[in-house]
């Protein structure tokens, strides 16, 4: 059986440079290399797991256009004021936030009125105050406008507050979620998961920092990762022998 698995591993590794297996022990960089006994894992990026009906729906949405060019530019400018880019992980534009918001607006049409109406409000306000569209106003002028709509009343349901307050709250949520679900945003957050690894508990310094510790009796029952590839056998009372 070992040979069969190895040959599958080689096959997959040969087929794609991005396919990989993983270490049975931790590495500093989290880099992975094939290890005897482990099963290779697919890292295909061609698909994102849609059923045919879902894929058709997404293709249709992608062809539709919700925002015109000016609105897309306004969203781009606004999103960078909400969450300014910062080295080394960029900002909303590096995270494709405007494109994400455009798609979500089509995917969840209940947002469209707030988004489209809010963008109109922004230009109307900016034109009235400064004789300029929002995207062409100075950063200080843009902030002056946003300062008037960025605080919602926490005691009142958002739906009962003025459109411009709802618009800003929605945009802020979409900008933050759009950024932190992007490659650069995840790097900024520091999330280390979504890759093959072996869980061996919380590091000691983290336990200390939060003032907790492992109970030795509990830990004694937990998995011994050095034997994870040894086939389990028990005695008749259910005691693990291997």
């Amino acid at each position: 059986m070992m040979d069969r698995r190895k040959s599958i591993q080689t096959m997959i590794l040969g087929a794609s440079a991005s396919a990989f297996a993983f270490h049975s022990c931790k590495t500093d960089k989290g880099e992975a290399a094939p290890v005897e006994g482990e099963t290779a894992v697919s890292t295909d990026t061609k698909y994102y797991g849609r059923t045919p009906a879902e894929a058709e729906r997404d293709a249709k949405l992608k062809e539709e256009q919700l925002f015109n060019e000016h609105e897309m530019e306004t969203i781009a400018v606004l999103s960078e004021v909400i969450l300014p880019p910062k080295e080394p992980h960029g900002g909303p534009l590096e995270a494709d936030v405007p494109e994400f918001i455009e798609f979500i607006g089509k995917d969840m049409p209940q947002m469209q009125n707030t988004l489209l109406g809010g963008l109109m409000w922004l230009d109307h306000k900016s034109n009235t105050d400064y004789g300029l569209e929002f995207k062409s106003a100075s950063l200080d002028q843009q902030k002056e406008i946003l300062d008037q709509i960025c605080i919602q009343d926490m005691e009142v349901p958002l739906d009962d507050q003025p459109l411009q307050i709802q618009f800003f709250a929605l945009m802020k949520n979409l900008v933050v979620t759009g950024y932190y679900t992007s490659k650069v945003g995840i790097a900024d957050l520091g999330y280390k998961g979504n890759q093959p690894n072996v869980w061996d508990g919380v590091p000691d310094d983290v336990l200390k920092k939060h003032g907790v510790e492992y109970d030795p009796e509990w830990i004694a029952k937990c998995v011994d990762n050095s034997k994870r590839n040894v086939i389990a056998e028990w005695d008749e009372d259910g005691n693990l022998l291997t």
Binding site: M1, M2, V41, S42, Y47, Y48, G49, R50, T51, A53, D58, L61, I82, L83, P84, D96, E99, F100, I104, D107, C150, I151, Q152, M154, N173, V176, T177, G178, Y180, T181, S182, I186, L189, G190, Y191, K192, G193, N194, Q195, P196, N197, W199, P203, V206, H210, V212, Y214, K221, C222, V223, D224, R228, V230, I231, A232, W234, G238, N239, L240, T242
Partner: protein, 572 residues
């Protein structure tokens, strides 16, 4: 339109390919029987890169993981959720039932939580214990040998704790607790609530050379490509095929009814192919229903004939009755001591809780009869759509200024990442005759098959149990130095989830010794028709404060052994 009849007579037709159908397929095919598996959804293999969602990043999708087309988020590996296109169901006015269906090979086992708890000795004898409901016609000792075999065949991690009603088993070693789980342990123990390692069917250690070992991505809900978690397709049906079993899969095939002969015995099934929308017939010596508690009841009720005017197996008038789901109430706590997490390590772990609380209560001091267990979630998990929404709620709790924008948003996101702990109380509701599903003669699905109408209301005891859950979560939260979020009160039934929402519906074809008060006998065989068996959760007499899958698997195996024996003796 002429119905197309296949000349082949199978030994067994199995309707449905989830936990119960998968186990029956494995056991019956391994015994050399010629088996047809009829599944209403398409073929699915967790290892197929085209449909795989495991290890996807949110940015692989334009909607970043949002749940627009899948109720539990777009990576959840369930094709179908509370609604299935073209397959409606109805509810009686003033009642609620939510019905989750997964239309795919392996059914709901592809996305389930893998919480794999045995029922304990008390769980089979509810009436003896407290006067409510009915006892099962079998006891723990009847099922124990099968639980043991299921543990070894499928693999489940956990620990032997010697607890009376949470039986020991043959466990793989559990993973170490995560940081928030250590907080939970501390908080729960302070209130005298037991916490033990989780019991989930994921391979923390190899059990054979066919399945891989867990690589800790925390995504079992996406179904594992190396088959390190239990799904019925990858762990039962594929192995049955690979070891040379005669297993013919009919997918996209919606069973309409069980066909019968003049003597009233089952002769096979008729089904509608979703591909060409034509009706077909298959013949077999034995029919095994494993379509899920409600779907199997629907098939029986739709199988009317001269011999069975009331529907098949329904001489007791109890098919569809005693429908019950687990109770559930959920909560969340914000824990300031978990703010400003160190993100230098990966704490995805397995796709679920590393620790949990089994039921601990003393009913002589409580105002509800049955118990619940507590599931725990939290940690630094993968950001998806919705991540970072409404940070101001936390700012408010911490007394920081709310509103605003700019660089401070980055600081807020990082400050609160991983600082929330969630609780899920999952318990036992009472099986009541008044809660049921029946055929709605006014409505058919897109295949012309009459649909189910649900009639389900919680009683006061379930509401009181939910209140106990909420009070307990709040107490544990305070013990952890946390702030309990949005506690639901009496006006919201203490957060008690609507019937069906915990997706543990059971009881529609309950087992018993008396054909007047039960639908199947203690071997899951219809009292009325001896060559029809039901191996999903329909035959459950009562839920427990446990999840139902491990018991479905054990009872399906037990029923399969009985079928093999009865065929050998030519009794059926």
């Amino acid at each position: 339109m002429q119905i197309k009849e296949s000349p082949e007579v199978y030994d067994v037709i199995i309707v449905g390919s989830g936990a119960g159908g998968g186990m029956a397929t494995k056991q019956l095919a391994d015994a050399g029987l010629n088996v047809a598996v009829v599944e209403a959804g398409p073929f699915f293999d967790p290892a197929d890169p085209k449909t795989m969602t495991q290890l996807k990043w949110p940015y692989d999708s334009p909607r970043r993981g949002a749940g627009t087309t899948r109720a539990f988020g777009e990576w959840d590996q369930s094709w179908g959720d509370w609604e299935v296109d073209g397959e409606p169901y109805t509810t009686e006015e003033g009642t609620t039932f939510k019905w989750w269906r997964a239309r795919m090979l392996g059914g709901r086992t592809n996305h389930w939580g893998r919480i794999s708890l045995r029922f304990g000795p008390k769980d089979f004898k509810g009436k003896t214990r407290d006067g409510h409901g009915e006892d099962w016609p079998i006891g723990y000792e009847d099922v124990k040998p099968y639980y043991d075999k299921v543990d070894k065949l499928i693999g489940v991690f956990g620990t032997n704790e010697g607890r009376e009603n949470d039986p020991d088993g043959f466990f793989l070693p559990p993973p170490k607790p995560r940081l928030h789980e250590l907080f939970y342990i501390k908080g729960a123990k302070k209130s005298g609530i037991p916490v033990i390692p989780g019991r989930l069917s994921m391979l923390t250690k190899r059990i054979n050379n066919e399945r891989g070992v867990c690589f800790y991505c925390g995504q079992c809900g996406r179904s594992c490509q190396v088959y390190a978690d239990f799904s019925a397709g990858s762990c039962l049906i594929f192995p049955a095929q690979k070891s040379g079993g005669k297993v013919r899969l009919y997918v996209n095939s919606m069973v309409r009814e069980i066909t019968t002969n003049e003597e009233g015995k089952a002769t096979g099934v008729s089904y509608v192919s979703k591909d060409d929308r034509k009706e077909y017939k298959l013949k077999a010596k034995v029919v095994v229903l494993a379509a899920s508690a409600c779907s199997s009841a629907r098939i029986l009720l739709n199988s009317k004939s001269k011999q069975h005017p009331n529907g098949l197996g329904n001489s007791s008038n109890l098919v569809g009755k005693y429908l019950h789901d687990s109770t559930g109430s959920s909560g969340a706590a914000f824990v300031p001591d978990l703010m400003n997490r160190d993100v230098t390590y990966n704490e995805d772990g397995v796709g679920g809780m590393h620790v949990y609380s089994p039921w601990w209560g003393d009913h002589s001091k409580l105002d509800f009869p049955r118990g619940y267990h507590i599931e725990v979630w939290g940690g630094m998990s993968q950001p998806n759509y919705g991540f970072g929404f409404d940070q101001d709620n936390f700012n408010k709790l911490m007394g920081f200024p709310t509103g605003g924008y700019g660089d401070k948003l980055r600081d807020e996101v990082k400050r609160y990442y991983g600082a929330v702990i969630g609780f899920g109380g999952r318990g036992e509701g009472l099986a009541r005759k008044e809660n049921y599903c029946e055929i709605d003669e006014t409505t058919v699905d897109d295949y012309g098959i009459p649909v189910l109408k649900f009639n389900y209301k919680w009683s006061d005891v379930e509401v009181r149990q939910a209140k106990h859950m909420q009070d307990t979560f709040e107490e544990i939260t305070h013990n952890m130095g946390g702030i309990y979020l949005n506690k639901p009160g009496k006006d919201r039934d203490y957060g008690l989830h609507a019937p069906g929402e915990i997706i543990h519906e059971v009881g529609t074809t309950r087992m018993g010794d008396d054909p007047k008060t039960s639908v199947t006998n203690k071997f899951n065989q219809l009292h009325d028709v001896d060559n029809v068996f039901i191996v999903d959760a329909g035959p459950f007499v009562s839920q427990a404060d446990k999840n139902c899958t491990w018991t479905i698997l054990a009872l399906s195996w037990r029923a399969s052994d009985y079928i093999i024996e009865q065929l050998k003796q030519q009794n059926i």
